[in-house]
Symmetry: C2
Subunit: 166 residues, 2 copies
């Protein structure tokens, strides 16, 4: 919440400086919380993205999708309630000896549902934690272009790509 | 427990038929229970085994390791308590468009710790459920040769291969 507080102060101070506040206000969505304990959540599915794939530059490696209890309800009902959190946990895919094993964490992606707080991006807050470091936010105010733009066509599924499997 | 009951009857009936019961008694370990709800357990790690790997014939595909709470204690302490269950969930690895996705379940492997029940195989009961079907037991009485033989060198780690990661 610290960043959000600073952004709120900035937004309210800007008119005093004679600057437009519109863009800043739109960008000042509240921080997406770091998803503490997510490794104990439900493992939804996994995938390996390799060189040559259109998303390789951003998402090359092996990723696992995790969901908290509220997100599990969302997958089942088709409507994700506030507080639903979906994780995209991307690790390096280490290829050796005819096997692919997991390497270092590249980025921990988070979708956090709050219809009111994140209204401008489909009710979802998006964040990426570089290397999985809670202090290294790599999306910040760029969620609309860096994340939501690709998720938007998934509106019929509440902007999610993943599906539950057995 | 149904199979175990049948095996117990067989074992007790054999002396009446003048046959040695020794081998049968050793093989008649209690059935390893199907691990109901394991998809909600802790996801430990994953790996892809490809053609050319020495274990490809048996374990080719993408597998996920899951652990119940007692098994998590075992990973952390080095000693797995009775009731610890570790899952080896093997799915087909479907390669297309520079990505590997998950296909059908090939086998659901289970290690179930009970030092007394499974004393002859390091205190672990081993089972494989073909296609994930609780009724399709593919290991049965062959645990010693089909599973424990490869796990035995891991004695220092209570016969397990996997390790926790962040």
């Amino acid at each position: 919440m610290k960043m959000w507080t600073i952004q709120a102060i900035k937004a309210s101070a800007l008119p005093l400086l004679g600057m437009s506040v519109v863009t800043t206000t739109l960008a000042a969505a509240p921080d997406v919380p770091y998803p503490k304990g997510y490794r104990d959540w439900h493992h939804v599915k996994s995938m390996v993205i390799e060189e040559g794939h259109p998303l390789f530059a951003s998402f090359g490696g092996i990723h696992h999708i995790y969901a908290n209890d509220k997100a599990m309800k969302g997958y089942r009902s088709g409507a994700f309630p506030d507080g639903a959190v979906i994780i995209f946990d991307l690790l390096e895919a280490v290829r050796a000896d005819h096997a692919i094993t997991e390497g270092q964490r590249k980025v921990l992606g988070v979708m956090h549902k709050d219809a009111k707080k994140y209204a401008s991006t489909g009710g979802w807050g998006f964040e990426g934690f570089g290397g999985g470091d809670p202090a290294n936010r790599v999306v910040g105010d760029s969620a609309a272009s860096a994340c939501f733009a690709c998720h938007q066509p998934q509106q019929a599924q509440d902007y999610t790509f993943s599906r539950l499997r057995d």
